[in-house]
Symmetry: C2
Subunit: 332 residues, 2 copies
């Protein structure tokens, strides 16, 4: 397999966390191509191959910086390495808007995609996982964009979820009645109904997703980001509160220790994938956007996710599922 191109300069703890994560991935048998400032990285690359990029996109830059003011930025050079056949996939933990913009510019959208989306998986009560998109790449969405996400999410789920050949797709809403939902949701419903090859089950509430009633949850980037972050924050809250509850009762303090261990296992199992970040689906290439705060373990995990998507030919799968489906935006 070709290496995964890693934007070494992007992230709150770059380049240290990125370099250490790359070393871990390499040690685990995953080939990595470093992309970043050669002068700064030469003595710290641990012998991994390096592509030079003299510029760095910071959090203060605009999303379009890699296209305009910073053409030699590490995130753009990483995309170019994938486009030019030097790498099989890209991982960046930097500015997610800049990642999206440079992926669209360099790797291009797949035919039929209105907007690419950030996608990840959350644990369900039935032991499975639900796919959620968009998670924040598209904050304000048109109804047609939500229909595009339904198709992308369905294709992603059938490629990546084991044993789910015909994923059930729901649209996040404040009730299951079709009369509920905001103006955007109500306008999107008939578009999702009309999609061929997508098993759309209608509007769904958060509980239905976590219970396992659907395999794919479609939402705009604002609602998806809020929902995912609420799941994460609530899990932490409940874990902490339960532990304190047990500690308050002397007879149950042993339970607190057990709970702590169980919670760690739960987190390890369920966050293994999310930990690495989200995948940008709808792009003609595998692009994983990690958390800005990624530590070396998270960077390693992101490289793993990217390699897994390459292995399963996620892009080919999405391309075939899409063929002539999503409403194409006027080219610009």
């Amino acid at each position: 397999m070709l290496p995964v191109a890693l934007d070494v300069m992007g992230g709150d703890h770059a380049p240290g966390a990125q370099l250490e994560g790359a070393a871990r991935a390499h040690a685990a048998g995953l080939p990595v191509l470093l992309v970043g400032d050669e002068a700064r990285l030469r003595h710290r690359s641990g012998g991994l191959p390096l592509v030079h990029a003299s510029q760095v996109v910071t959090m203060d830059d605009r999303a379009t910086a890699p296209l305009r003011t910073k053409p030699d930025s590490s995130v753009r050079r990483a995309m170019e390495a994938a486009r030019d056949g030097q790498a099989a996939a890209v991982v960046t933990c930097g500015h997610s808007g800049a990642a999206m913009a440079s992926a669209m510019h360099v790797l291009r959208k797949l035919p039929g995609v209105e907007r690419p989306a950030l996608v990840t998986q959350v644990p369900r009560a039935d032991g499975g996982e639900a796919v959620i998109l968009d998670l924040g790449a598209n904050i304000d969405c048109k109804p047609s964009t939500l229909a595009c996400f339904a198709r992308l999410g369905s294709a992603y789920a059938s490629a990546m979820l084991p044993g789910v050949p015909a994923p059930r797709v729901g649209l996040l809403s404040n009730g299951e009645e079709r009369s509920k939902g905001n103006a955007q949701i109500r306008a999107a419903l008939p578009l999702l109904d009309a999609l061929e090859g997508v098993r759309f089950v209608g509007p769904v509430e958060p509980a239905a997703v976590l219970r396992g009633d659907v395999d794919v949850l479609v939402c705009d980037g604002f609602a998806g980001n809020v929902m995912l972050k609420t799941v994460e924050a609530t899990a932490e809250l409940v874990g902490g509160v339960l532990k304190r509850e047990l500690q308050r009762h002397p007879l149950e303090s042993m339970g607190a220790v057990m709970l702590g261990r169980a919670f760690k296992r739960f987190r390890r199992r369920t966050q293994a994938r999310n930990y690495g970040g989200a995948l940008l689906v709808g792009i003609d290439g595998v692009v994983v956007v990690g958390h800005g705060r990624s530590d070396p373990v998270a960077v390693h995990s992101a490289v793993e996710v990217a390699a897994q998507c390459v292995e399963r030919d996620l892009v080919g799968h999405v391309r075939r599922a899409l063929a002539g489906a999503c409403e194409q935006e006027p080219s610009r």
Copy 2:
């Protein structure tokens, strides 16, 4: 204290759950005034006073039904009992849109309120509670409506949260940077900045709310409903997963029993208030809108919440805080 008017006909399990809930509240020393169909309720009222209403708003009705086609509906008659000095507050577990419409029509908005909001409290990791509004009474909101909610939520929090005289108010967003947020959030920011008498701290993420960085979270009814339901569903998911985690390990199975007990205590403590439903704030009267699926315990809890709001003079508090503050909608 005047009794709490209970819409006996509204709710998935009405009138049975409502009657039993009323009996429980009465037994606990809370006076209740039943409102519903006298012919159906006469022999089941348990001696509680009853106001007759011949009509019932069903979930298939429009929100405006109490104003137009069903003027003798139980929800409207309950509001009238409060308006006419027969009751101190109203509780209904029926159609929430109809509750909102009849509350606005009969009891009227407080001066300076653009739109009333549904508000409740969620537990925080620091042991306190955060106030969230709107929870679904206003699905599509203008930026000015969010500013109105900031004022209502701040007034509610200073009346109802112990020891929080100057509540910190945050606006739900997908990041703390002011450049994030959707178009609605970005348009609302300067309006919230400009509010006098409101301690607005800026855009906040879900984790900041559950951690305790703010006392009041402002959002539109769509996002608020999704966030609250995600908190509830995730708490159930995590509780269940941890229990199974512990059961999988024989040495920790005792922990599962302890965890089950701790989780019940947690739920009892944190849901005591939410359980009864949400309060409609911004109305010239105390109106509690319970879950449709309320059982007798939830109905009793809703009556308790209503009585507590009356005791603390919530409406007077909100009225004083508002005096000349929210942008007034053109009268219609």
